[in-house]
């Protein structure tokens, strides 16, 4: 076994993707090892073990093991979750099925909501009622519930979700229900809404609780099996799991709140963004816009002030969820997006050629031109890029695929290809504009970090559209998520409802609330005993003007004499930034109190490689500049020298992606291997 890898203090991160399971390890001297294995859908742990074996590290030496898993998300998307019963307050059986009674597809008279995870005959009502102020109107009818356990619930379900009205304010009834269920249905997991999402709005809370119960047994079993296999192989470090909030917790904690692991895999990109922002903070002082462009979709996330942007509400495949998650916005644009003409207009996407047949140039029978084909025609990817597998791309087929549209619109093939790329770029830029404008963020103050198979190809054009002057193409692009996870912080979020008018709040009461949350979070952390020291605590409040519904989360200062005034001012300015106006005369109310405990992870130490002075192109091609074909040197990323400046047009090849640097931009490789591309002048 390699000596370096036997170094004490090996850190490992594993990320399961759709096709590959990626592994990254690092040692104290900053050496980074990577490996890939095929994802094994039937039994994901096999792929994980394969990937670890590819790393060739001694698991006994591992001090930190971080894992991003899609076990929960796949179960949800493929509807392979647990058989769940839902218990509701009497009279409210249909809250889950009715949802918000809205119809987001405005002009579709035949719109149907997604089929619920729990059908109506698996929803059972309990006689009990709590009022909006938390007082008890009717106690839990325990006899009735016991009878329900025996007659209806036993031997039928893998998990039971409980969501009672106003449980966010008074959870005692849910606790009573849990005690009775545990006594009469031993061994069946019971998921309470007051634990999963202690916030008001019954439908969203129910949906979150149901999803949590739906994935709980699968996530639990998966993590237990993985822990066991790693223990067998001699690893003593705890398995840490990526959560949707971009932080990690131990597997034992993740099992208690499995819904928090739903985006465990997808948040990897944003987590890498945070790590890059730490290293390259000086080139992107306000943060990063992270874009992941693959074959069919384009995901955008944002890193602002060193942190991944978090959303308190989200929706996965039509399932509404109330928990803090890294905001990832998906747009239907990718290398496989198809160009077509309808009613005389040229459109690109959202329809995709997918993997089969894929772009025309894959030579698998596709005849419609895609964004990838257009890039090939323009010389922005090399035919040797092998995007579709082991076969080189077919330029002739790509050119042929353009003919039909080219004739219809009377455009030269090159002009059409350029147009297809331009339309795709403009659609992506619009999506980023809508997201940033919506959040009061000016994209120009940010750097653009691009990854995924097609990201580095479009990055500079997107930056031009958005007037961004710095583009970062990170190192380890093929295993980027795992690389980011390796450096993710430990993080526990807790929240509670808390109401009152800012300025008239009982400071003692609020600080008691915050303390209780902190104690709870610390108790959680204490399970991972090595983590119980050295944490950072942040208290924040969800605030709004009286009468409004949506809140802004503002970090609360210490509870000193002036904290309410300061918080008020911070809220007004946050509101001003987000919405362009604020209302200083209006009362501000608090809705939720949140605390976040973090334990910082260490960045990967800087490694001083043997320096290469200068590198030469491996070949030269031609690329279309919009008016001319220009000679375009092609470099291999592995051979790039640090700090060497390379002017565009140029291309950098690596196994998973191609970076295209157009004229007017300049590329430089950062010490850690990240590519920095900046606008000249």
């Amino acid at each position: 076994m390699n000596n370096d890898r036997n170094n004490k203090n090996v850190r490992v991160a594993i990320d399961i993707g759709g096709t590959f399971t990626d592994a990254v390890a690092t040692t104290t001297d900053g050496t980074v090892f990577t490996a890939k294995s095929s994802t094994t859908p039937g039994n994901l742990t096999d792929g994980v073990i394969d990937a670890i074996e590819g790393l060739d590290v001694d698991l006994k030496q591992v001090t930190s093991f971080i894992h991003g898993t899609t076990a929960g998300l796949n179960a949800l998307l493929e509807r392979r979750g647990a058989k769940v019963a839902l218990l509701t307050t009497m009279g409210f059986r249909d809250i889950y099925e009715i949802g918000r009674a809205n119809r987001p597809d405005l002009y579709n008279a035949r719109y149907k909501r997604p089929i619920p995870l729990v059908r109506r005959n698996d929803i059972h009502q309990i006689s009990e009622r709590i009022a909006a102020d938390g007082s008890v109107i009717d106690p839990v009818n325990e006899q009735e519930l016991i009878a329900c356990c025996k007659n209806t619930l036993s031997n039928k379900y893998d998990a039971i979700a409980v969501c009672l009205l106003h449980a966010y304010r008074n959870a005692s009834h849910e606790h009573t229900v849990q005690e009775i269920l545990s006594a009469h249905l031993p061994g069946i997991p019971v998921i309470l809404s007051s634990q999963v999402a202690p916030e008001w709005r019954e439908y969203e809370r129910t949906s979150t609780t149901v999803v949590s119960a739906y994935v709980a047994p699968i996530v639990g079993e998966y993590l237990s099996r993985l822990e066991e296999r790693l223990r067998e192989k001699g690893m003593s470090a705890p398995v840490l799991v990526m959560q949707s909030n971009g932080g990690v917790v131990s597997a034992s904690i993740a099992k208690t709140l499995p819904v928090q692991t739903l985006l465990s895999g997808p948040v990897g990109g944003a987590t890498a963004g945070v790590a890059i922002n730490n290293v390259l903070g000086d080139v992107s002082p306000d943060g990063l816009i992270c874009v992941d462009m693959g074959g069919t979709s384009f995901d955008v996330s944002m890193v602002v002030k060193g942190e991944a942007q978090i959303e308190l509400e989200s929706s996965i495949d039509g399932h509404d969820l109330l928990f803090p998650a890294v905001a990832i916005h998906t747009v239907g644009a990718g290398g496989g997006s198809v160009a077509e003409v309808s009613a005389g207009g040229l459109h690109v996407g959202p329809r995709s050629a997918g993997a089969i047949p894929g772009p025309a140039s894959y030579g698998r029978g596709g005849t419609e031109p895609t964004v990838t084909d257009a890039n090939l025609v323009l010389g922005r990817i090399s035919a040797d890029a092998k995007l579709g597998g082991d076969m080189p791309l077919e330029l002739n087929t790509a050119q042929r695929s353009m003919q039909n549209i080219s004739n219809k619109l009377d455009l030269e093939t090159t002009t059409l290809a350029e147009g297809i790329v331009k339309i795709a770029d403009s659609n992506m830029a619009n999506a980023i504009r809508e997201l940033t404008v919506f959040r009061g963020i000016d994209p120009r103050d940010h750097a653009l970090m691009a990854f995924g198979g097609a990201g580095p190809l479009h990055a500079v054009a997107l930056a031009e559209e958005l007037e961004i002057s710095t583009v970062i193409v990170p190192a380890y692009a093929g295993v980027l998520s795992a690389w980011g996870m390796l450096q993710a912080d430990y993080r526990v979020d807790r929240s509670t409802s808390c109401s009152g008018i800012l300025g008239a709040l009982d400071s003692d009461l609020v600080s008691t609330f915050a303390e209780e949350l902190t104690i709870d979070a610390k108790a959680t952390i204490a399970i991972d005993n090595s983590r119980s020291v050295d944490y950072q605590l942040r208290v924040a409040a969800d605030l709004r003007y009286v009468g409004q519904e949506y809140t802004l989360t503002v970090v609360a200062p210490n509870f000193d004499d002036h904290w309410q005034e300061e918080l008020r001012q911070d809220f007004d300015s946050a509101y001003q930034i987000r919405f362009g106006h604020c209302n200083k005369d209006e009362d501000v109310e608090i809705v939720n109190l949140r605390i976040t405990l973090t334990v910082n992870n260490d960045p990967i130490p800087e490694k001083l490689d043997e320096l290469i002075d200068f590198c030469t192109p491996i070949s030269e091609g031609q690329s279309w500049s919009g008016s001319d074909w220009l000679n375009t040197p092609v470099y291999s990323r592995e051979q790039l020298a640090h700090d060497q400046l390379i002017d565009g047009p140029s291309m950098v090849l690596e196994s998973e992606a191609t970076t295209f640097v157009p004229k007017g931009w300049q590329l430089q490789m950062h010490k850690q291997g990240h590519l920095l591309i900046t606008k000249i002048g």
Binding site: F92, I95, I98, R103, Y111
Partner: protein, 555 residues
């Protein structure tokens, strides 16, 4: 590598937008409208806008041609053009400056009730007018004779202030006298000011982003692109209509009444297809009513466009080129083209019925594209009173979903907001109970309310309320005369029911206005179900079993 040599001189100097530029500009217009709407919905003051999305945004070029729109309520589709035209007619473009904002709400100009206030601003690039951004949103209280709005008004003067084109910001400075008038005459002045600011913020987003777009492409290229965009909408829609058989079809129905104690309101919809042209006539429909069930012509046109859109190219964005092959005949002084002094508070019920009749009429031409009847109305219940703790006025108003009509290949949706309301969301029970002295005892699907058929109509909803303090009740439930009708042998859905039990007596209250009720009154509302599609005996065993298992139907 052999590359085709491109002729870089091919680009001509005339300002024709190429197909690529056209697509980039098309998507940018849509994106700007979406950005405006997001800004409006997120920063609005009252829940009816940010939660129920009772709002809509449109973007126009300098010729007041629609270039982009983003709608909360689909029934507002395209009603903002006449608002912009009215403002331009009144003030004249030469008298407009950057930073100006205008508003109006006259039902006879913009079509819907006075609560819907249109706010718009001219957009300039430097000093050149390039377009207009406009939004329309529901204001909670504009000083009508009863809180929020009146359901028993008989003249528009009782429904609050009625504003023609009015300048509310001049060169970015608020017109204090106007804002004072708007807030002083409202029971909820803070809400007025808050929502107005949100609409102005949406205008500002539109101004900023449109200026960027015009700066990038220039006026001539954008004009050329717009023309092509409009033509493309027209071509697609004409082709879709041409694919339907020629003919004339008529469908008629009745609304229960034009208000509490009122008489029935007949509605007749006649659809004619000739080649690629569609004509919709509402002749034979009721004259304008003595109650508040009326709307201005522009709302009717918007409603007909929505009905058309459900069938013709529902996936394409709406532009100034849309609906060019759609003509309408609306009788003057009818319920669909009300004139002074007709009250217009309930501008939707006859529109909802008309959409239903339109789809029913078109079932002959396009059986695959339509759905069976939907008892479509907003199904409003409003409770007002004083907060027991503070004595402040409260207004709890909400719209309730209905069962949707079944269609070829699927059962109708259960409990979903009517045609005219798209992303309009229901009122969370926990929020309602927290805000108001109201307790909800039940919120459920209404079994057996969907019309049977090969495909079953969707189920209506039941919601049971109890008042915890003295309050006043207004309701507006419709369509017992013409429920969700079955199609092709399917049965009709159950009609709506509302019962009030004040402890002394129980009464039916499909429509009532501002009725005092004591604490402890129990109100049960049940909305109608959708019509079935196809003969009941053709329903599959599996579907019948599932209905029983789920309790959607009971014996």
């Amino acid at each position: 590598m052999n590359r085709p040599k491109s002729n870089s001189n091919k680009q001509t100097t005339t300002s024709q937008a190429d197909p690529i530029t056209v697509e980039v500009i098309r998507n940018s217009f849509s994106s700007i409208a979406a950005q405006m709407n997001q800004n409006l919905a997120r920063s609005a003051y009252t829940p009816i806008i940010y939660e129920m999305k009772d709002c809509s945004v449109s973007l126009f070029d300098r010729n007041i041609q629609l270039v982009g729109q983003s709608s909360g309520l689909p029934v507002f589709l395209g009603t903002l053009g006449p608002a912009v035209e009215a403002v331009v007619d009144t003030f004249g473009i030469e008298d407009m400056s950057p930073g100006d904002v205008y508003l109006l709400n006259d039902s006879y100009i913009v079509g819907s009730h006075l609560n819907d206030v249109s706010v718009l601003s001219p957009i300039f690039l430097d000093s050149m007018l390039i377009g207009f951004g406009a939004s329309k949103a529901h204001w909670m209280d504009i000083g009508a004779k009863s809180p929020s709005s009146a359901t028993d008004s008989t003249e528009i003067y009782q429904e609050g202030y009625r504003l023609g084109p009015t300048r509310v910001f001049k060169k970015g400075i608020p017109e204090k006298n106007v804002i004072d008038f708007l807030t002083r005459n409202s029971r909820l002045p803070k809400a007025i000011w808050g929502d107005l600011q949100a609409q102005v913020a949406a205008c500002r987003t539109g101004e900023r982003e449109m200026a960027k777009l015009y700066q990038r492409f220039g006026l001539e290229i954008i004009d050329s692109a717009s023309e092509q965009i409009f033509d493309q909408s027209e071509i697609a829609e004409r082709a879709a209509v041409a694919a339907l058989p020629d003919g004339t079809w008529q469908s008629a129905g009745n609304l229960d009444s034009w208000g509490p104690g009122g008489e029935i309101v007949p509605v007749v919809t006649t659809v004619t297809i000739t080649g690629d042209q569609m004509h919709v006539s509402l002749e034979g429909s009721s004259p304008q009513t003595p109650g508040c069930l009326n709307c201005g012509l522009q709302q009717t046109i918007a409603g007909i466009r929505l009905a058309y859109k459900f069938v013709i190219e529902p996936g394409l964005p709406i532009t100034a080129g849309s609906f060019r092959n759609l003509t309408v005949t609306v009788p003057e002084r009818s319920v669909f083209d009300a004139r002074e002094p007709a009250a217009c508070q309930h501008y939707y019920p006859h529109i909802g019925l008309m959409i239903d009749l339109f789809l029913n009429a078109l079932s002959n031409a396009a059986p695959e594209a339509v759905i069976a009847g939907q008892p479509g109305d907003a199904m409003n219940i409003m409770l007002t009173g004083k907060q027991p703790s503070t004595g402040e006025l409260f207004v709890s108003g909400e719209a309730t979903g209905v069962g949707w009509g079944a269609f070829q290949g699927g059962d109708g949706s259960n409990g979903m907001i009517t045609y005219g309301g798209g992303d309009l969301k229901n009122f969370p029970i926990e929020v309602q109970e927290h805000r108001f002295p109201i307790r909800i005892h039940e919120y459920s699907l209404r079994p057996n309310s969907g019309g049977l058929g090969k495909w079953r109509g969707g189920l209506g909803l039941i919601r049971r309320y109890e008042t915890l303090s003295e309050a006043r009740l207004s309701t507006w439930f419709e369509r017992t005369q013409t429920p969700g009708r079955g199609l092709f042998g399917g049965e009709s859905g159950e009609p709506a029911m509302v019962t009030v039990d004040d402890g002394q007596e129980t009464w039916s209250a499909l429509k009532c206005a501002d009725v005092p009720i004591p604490a402890g009154t129990k109100i049960t509302v049940a909305t109608g179900g959708g019509g079935g599609f196809g003969p009941t005996h053709e329903r599959s065993e599996h579907d019948i079993e599932n209905d029983t298992l789920m309790g959607y139907t009971t014996q």
